[in-house]
Symmetry: C3
Subunit: 439 residues, 3 copies
């Protein structure tokens, strides 16, 4: 009989929540993150103002399955100067200008040699691309193609004041403890520099979600992970294999601040509870949602869904990665994300959590024939009116499927009605002594 | 080897059958039925002229699962008179004028008070609606909205000469005994007053169907139930729980006289034999049919498909309830139903019965390679002609699938051919010693 | 670790192969074949120049399940002469002119009697139809409808110099032995006279395929069967019931030289490996392919898929039989088939064989998280570039699904990538020690 308490509309208002998430994302935006180094630490520190994050440091050289924790990267400055000594590229102007995880370099090179180290987007000639070189040592810059075209022949002084050193890889973790130790994992990558949607948006949204859960008594425990892409999730997995056995649901969250989508990529299991709950919530969104089958390309769901783990973890986004022109460019800035989109993304994930928390399997205590709803004031008393049927549909569906083999989500899928409405109907019927819990 | 006899075309002709059903429906139309009372008894008496109905009386106050048999309702007259003493509403004009199961009332009321007891259809202002108040005591009238609008302010004399009394609820039952005690349930609600399609049409069609089965030797037993909606089927179920275990197929039948549809709502089991047989017959109707998934709103399939019974009972209609403008109004009259539509509905149900009766699982006695049909005169002798293939398809399909794991209905579903054609092919092959019965 | 060798592009070039098949078909075209007799023997002799065919003779009267091997049919000449002694029909002009397996006849008949023995195509009045009368003794001719219309009233001298005699039915067989005795059956009917597509094309294509397999080391053994339709495959089946238990895959091949289709009719099992492999190859053809469900009408798949055998044998064609106007007429001549279409048909079947040979079930040796592909040079080193993802997709899919429960074909079906690409990726990963064989 100990049903979870009925669904609580999470305070504060959606508008206010969108603003909070946006402001937090805006604070994270300027920081130059990479897979290791102080950018991640600074980011986690800011997030710690919202939730009591536990920070983990994994020493350089620590194995993580097939991988090894890389050295820390420190970047102090990076410039290219022309013959006149004028800066033509400057990391201080935009942290995308330096190839992320670039090796240090100091020297004078001719333009054609320099060009071999400069990445541009000829089809988006005013944007700076985002490029990385984590696992192969290179030095390099990124810049707008139009700016590169303006550079005259000649010698250029290059100075990348960067350093690789033994240190550690950093990730942050927060566990909201629920009634049980079964877990819902929410993960966002923390390694991208100044890209607002990818993934300041996801970091900020999860932090605000975690904060709002603090005041909520939940059935599940909710684990929030803020880790660098790939190597960060691998490090976490390798140190938490026992935890993975407790994960019943999971979402990787990225690019949740733009106006596209929503998009959900199913877990490798294809029809896990999280996949069904997401499909249900998205089916009722005002904007038509895109449901994608699992594929092993994307974010850290690649690791969570590797065959040795095969966790029920999907990927939630607004626009799918790689599909919007701002993706991995300097146009993914604070103008590209909006509070109202962040609020809507937050609402969607919150509704999924409501389903995860609120699903149960009712058993009707009156399975032979319908119970007489009218006598209990649960049914429009006046028969024959063709309008009355609809309002009672949720009650009728719950009663009809309350054979102990259908959870509320099953009922939502079969009836086409909303989970919320059915949950409210089931609660009402339970209060009237017509339903019990199948457990 | 004791296959059921080959399918007999039920005499009389379809045209004649349509006329018979219409005439019977027309006799039932004027009677003022309700869930209890003499209207039902009079209806059953008329049906008894066609089939030897057994009449059951269930005493007021008898429990039926969560329900209780209500008191009998007697209605003698119901009028509203204006200040001049002229009748402005008169039950004698149309039995829809009185709120069905209305409490008695006598008194003088002002127009605004009267209006609170009058039901109209503002969007269909010339029609009288059908309204009931079974389980909440009210007095009231129904009338055309335009007529209500004409009533001047002033006092009105209301007199509803009705009575509730302890008595009984009445239902009728007829069992056609077949070779086995496995049953096919056919049920029509008997509680609606002057509504021709809903359900004089269903009552008349089932009575004529029952009559025609009398001369047919069947494998199944056929149980016909004419009971008031909801409480009637609940009463029957509560008194016949043992019978429900013998029900292999069932149909609730209502609104079978209009020109819409045909419509079939699947049983809660979704893919019961009756659902598959109905889908097969409807797939071959001249008019495109509508197949609806089960939902727990409608007629007495709600009770038969409640989780404690979960019987394989679907709902057969022409236009689906609630979807046609005449539904539950005075426009559902004898002009709205037509003999040809009743005949077509009858044909559909009869074909379903033919499948239920005629399905069997042939086993080929020559499973390695095809048998030589030509030598037995079963195949067009002249090869190479591209037209000959089609006519032999039913023989070839039956032989190919006669592995003991496919019944004729399975074969029809896989081949896309008609059940009738395959049944004839199987019979021919059996006569030639090429098939045996898998049983 | 003994994977099959990587897929070898079969020499010679596709263009050259198309020409070879066409030339062989052209040599077979003029011969007057029937279900028995020297036409079949002459055909097999020509095919023997390409592959070492084993010729089998089944004596007249030998039973084959429900059938009996018929007498041999010998046809020397067949003419109809008008009153002036001029030949108005002459078998020497076109072997379709005689009803195939016609009884001998000599006599003078009036035009109306003659017409009862003449088959025409009134809707294709310039074409000679192909007609047979194998299992019912008849004499007859086939001719263009327009030519028949020109014949004046009067007497006609008919002379069909044919003979039925005890002898044998002939079929040819060739077995390419692979590493195992599990078999892939490829069958083409050898009984049609001068019809180029139906089935000189199939005979020639299978012979050339068999020849090219000679130089290929295969896992499966490949059995090629050239037998008369129906009675030929029945004779083979009745003499090779033990072989049928070793058949894991099979294709009946006919009408593979026209420009329609491609068309594949699934085996009776509906989702056998051959059905899936065919569907995969056809899904990637430049022309949209047609996939048909099994039906028990067509070619010898009727016998192979009879319930007592239920072999995984489908039918591969370009245009489906009976769907093109040239079908079973004199227009199915050497102009109707083209080398390029034959080459494309050959390519399709070869790709299916590549899948049958090349499918295996990899098991990742690094299932927890992804292995680090970059360190092994298997991955574009430079991250962030949105173009790099696609090229690595096949590696990622193979690794992700290499849980020992997915073969390469399973992976192709789930990923939407091509089998070839995935097989190459798996081979690369195996070479890098990342995959083992699940066996």
């Amino acid at each position: 009989m100990d049903q979870p308490a009925s669904i609580i509309d999470p305070a504060p208002s959606n508008d206010e929540m969108g603003r909070r998430i946006y402001e937090l994302a805006a604070r994270l935006y300027p920081i130059c993150r990479s897979i290791t180094g102080d950018g991640v630490r600074e980011t986690l520190e800011i997030l710690s103002e919202t939730i009591p994050l536990e920070r983990h440091e994994v020493a350089t050289g620590t194995p993580a399955f097939d991988w090894t924790t890389p050295r820390e990267w420190m970047i102090r400055s990076a410039t290219v100067r022309n013959a006149a000594g004028e800066k033509v590229i400057d990391f201080d102007d935009h942290n995308l200008h330096v190839l992320n995880y670039s090796a240090p370099f100091r020297g004078t090179v001719r333009l054609d040699e320099l060009k071999r180290h400069i990445h541009t987007l000829p089809e988006q000639p005013d944007l700076i691309p985002y490029r990385t070189s984590y696992y192969s040592e290179n030095w390099g810059f990124c810049m707008a193609h139009n700016r590169l075209a303006e550079l005259p022949e000649g010698d250029y002084q290059v100075e990348i004041d960067a350093e690789f050193k033994d240190g550690s890889l950093t990730y942050g973790e927060y566990l909201h403890r629920g009634e049980t130790d079964r877990e819902f994992l929410l993960s966002a990558h923390v390694c991208h520099p100044s890209l607002a949607n990818d993934n300041c948006s996801g970091l900020a949204m999860l932090a605000c979600l975690a904060a709002s859960l603090k005041s909520r008594k939940t059935r599940y425990s909710y684990r929030f992970l803020f880790a660098p892409g790939t190597i960060g999730s691998l490090a976490w997995l390798s140190r938490n294999e026992d935890v993975t056995e407790r994960i019943d649901h999971g979402l990787v969250v990225s690019c949740v601040g733009d106006g596209g989508g929503p998009t959900y990529k199913r877990s490798r299991r294809d029809n896990a509870f999280i996949d069904r709950a997401m499909a249900h919530v998205l089916s009722r969104c005002p904007k038509p949602a895109t449901l994608l089958d699992f594929s092993p390309y994307g974010y850290d769901e690649r690791q969570f869904c590797s065959p040795g783990f095969n966790l029920p973890v999907g990927l939630f986004q607004r626009s799918a990665f790689g599909t919007f022109p701002e993706y991995h460019t300097s146009a993914d800035n604070l103008d590209f994300i909006r509070p109202e989109h962040l609020a809507e993304s937050y609402r969607i994930v919150t509704e999924v959590i409501d389903i995860v928390e609120g699903d149960w399997t009712p058993v009707s205590l009156c399975q032979k024939g319908e119970p007489q709803l009218g006598r209990r004031g649960l049914y429009a008393a006046l028969g024959g009116d063709r309008s009355t049927g609809l309002s009672a549909m949720s009650l009728l569906w719950v009663l009809n499927l309350a054979d102990g083999r259908h959870s509320l989500l099953d009922m939502a899928e079969r009836s086409g009605l909303g989970f919320k409405e059915l949950a409210a109907a089931a609660e009402l019927l339970r209060l009237h002594g017509l339903l019990a819990d199948a457990r």
